[in-house]
Amino acid sequence: MQNRWHRFLEKLNDYRGVIAFVAVFVLGIIFSPRALNTGLPIFLSWQTQLAILYEYSEYGLLATGMTLVILTGGIDLSVGSVLGLSAVLFSLLTIGYGWGVAPAIGAVLLTGLACGLMNGSLIARFKMQPFVATLAMMTAARGAAKLIAGGIKVQPGGQPWYVMQEGTPSFFLWMTSALPGIGVQPSTLIFLVCILVMAALVRYTAYGRWLYAIGGNEEAARLSGIRVGAVKVLTYALCSMFAAMAGVLNACRQDLGDTEAGMTYELDAIAAVVIGGTSLMGGRGGMMFTLIGVLIMAYINKILSLNAVELAPRMVIQGIIITIAVLIQQKRGRSS
């Protein structure tokens, strides 16, 4: 009897994140204001759920890449800046130089890949601390964004030599408007597909096992024949490419390329990963945890926003929630 109870608790432990999410959801229902025309709670509407996912799709993509890096015991501080650089580059290529959308996305992803390869090689080949290497990239990528944009936001008519002077390419609008029938925006779909694919990859492939092995004990992983350096380079490259993709989403959402886009997003991405329950020490956690972490952050933000909570208390509340989430995670770390 006692044994069964113990096993039940253990099972419950695994679903801590899900329980936290359900708690937040219930809070949302309780504190949700009602729409003036229908009298129904706004929070429960399908529209709101889609809006939440859509608003957090960029954070979600960053968190997806960040999870891979954190699983290896690393950290990537450059994702926010890479997002900004990509948003500016994508806008500049399409609006400024009149490139087609497909080649522009290709170029942006390659730029992301280059940033990631740089991060990865500095860390794996030159044994630089991930914190330092990606900090350097964070500064450099932000500078590059400002450099190529000339210090202003990239939008039609921003410079006399821009090719597109009358509005952004139709792709920008398509990415952010609901697809007919299902009502989901392509931005949201990209995020969901990416995180689900990565979840499968981490769970069922050798690459996923290597991530855990390296994060758990790098030396043991090396001795067991895993090419640690190559895996790390690949991981940072993937992380930066997700950030580049998020940059494209950002440009479409804002209808322009903002040189300041993604500022401090890396911290939100790390927070989402940690709230989900992936350990910053590496080797423990997973992609589905991150999805839950992103959802918890997104829902809390939406609840506060719907209630028009002032900025100062809002920041305090967000801080408290992050603290609680990390405390829960620490407890789990000690017990297992």
């Binding site: 706004i42 939008q155 410079q159 950002n250 926003s305 719907l306 900025l311």
Partner: protein, 320 residues
């Protein structure tokens, strides 16, 4: 060994890049052959905001008109007070004829500015003030007035009543507080009601997110008053992305009126109106010339605002 070589190559590259820049700067200063040409030092608190980039551009353009008389050296303090303090002292050491400063913070920059002023270098303070009276001239715009004009315009636009969303700038900054205060004065006595407000910290993504909440809550919104144009633009995008066509019925009003931002949005029909928060760049150069030629200038110059609407945008707005 390979690593050391790589590091060396990198170091050489960095040094070279640095040298190139210095030579360039030095070249600018020494470019005064024979004829008397005044040198003006311009210290900008940061070039991260488009509005400040515009201010530098305005100064540059105005200075170009008097290229035979003056020359401007630009410095960017990168939003660091201590860097800006050092820049003012560098200008004093260089012996520039006049300093224009757009300070980051009032108190820490009061002393360096006073130092220059006491050494006989005239100082024009742009946009944000310094304390005391140890400067030659302050040029700035009145945020309360701009907010009030926006309020009055909205009262007229909506016929005296309506439901309005206010997307505020960072409310711990004075422009945010003043644009709000002025607006409340402007709509006082009318039946305009602010049904939703949020602190968007001047940022477009946040404004977009907050506007989505407002749209979800209120079936009827007549207008959005945003403290800056990017926020107004974000609100418009939120309405458009909602997919109910409400971006066509809601009036969006912004502030700042940068040529490639707010003014453009008005031309495109995204904003109903935007109110100019003038950079004062052109006025600064004009005032500088007067000071250098020994003319008297007022201690305080308050810049007026202009309104840009669809009707007058092609003619360059209308002063209020």
């Amino acid at each position: 060994m390979k690593r050391i070589a790589l590091a060396l190559a990198f170091a050489v590259l960095v040094v070279c890049a640095g040298c190139g820049k210095k030579q360039q700067q030095a070249g600018q200063v020494t470019q005064t052959p024979g004829k008397k040409k005044w040198t003006i030092g311009m210290s900008q608190c940061n070039l991260g905001e488009p509005w400040r980039v515009q201010m530098n551009k305005d100064i540059e353009e105005a200075a170009k008109q008097h290229a035979d008389e003056i020359e401007v050296i630009f410095k960017d303090a990168q939003n660091k007070t201590e860097v800006q303090q050092a820049q003012v002292r560098e200008f004093i050491q260089m012996g520039v004829d006049l300093i224009i400063i757009s300070p980051k913070e009032a108190r820490p920059l009061t002393k360096p500015v006073a130092e220059a002023y006491q050494k006989g270098i005239p100082v024009i303070v742009l946009d944000r003030k310094v304390e005391g009276d140890q400067y030659t001239c302050f040029i700035g715009a009145d945020n309360v007035k701009i907010g009030r004009e926006a309020g009055k315009y909205l009262v007229k636009l909506l016929g005296g009543k309506g439901k309005v969303v206010e997307l505020k700038g960072l409310m711990t900054s004075t422009p945010g507080q003043e644009r709000h205060q002025g607006f409340m004065e402007g709509i006082a006595g009318s039946q305009i009601e602010i049904i939703f407000d949020a602190d968007c910290q001047w940022l477009e993504p946040i404004a977009q997110r907050e506007m989505q909440s407002a749209l979800a809550r209120f079936p009827q919104i007549d207008a959005v008053y945003a403290h800056n144009d990017p926020s107004a633009h974000g609100a418009y995008l939120a309405a458009r992305q909602e997919g109910k066509g409400r971006e066509k019925t809601i009036k969006f009003i912004g502030i700042d009126a940068l040529p490639h931002e707010g003014v453009r949005y008005v031309k495109e029909g995204i904003l109903t109106a935007t109110f100019e928060y003038p950079t004062g760049g052109k006025e600064a150069i004009e005032t500088a010339l007067k000071i250098l030629k020994g003319e008297q200038v007022p201690k305080n110059i308050t810049l007026g605002t202009r309104i840009y609407t669809r009707e007058n945008v092609e003619q360059g707005g209308e002063p209020l």
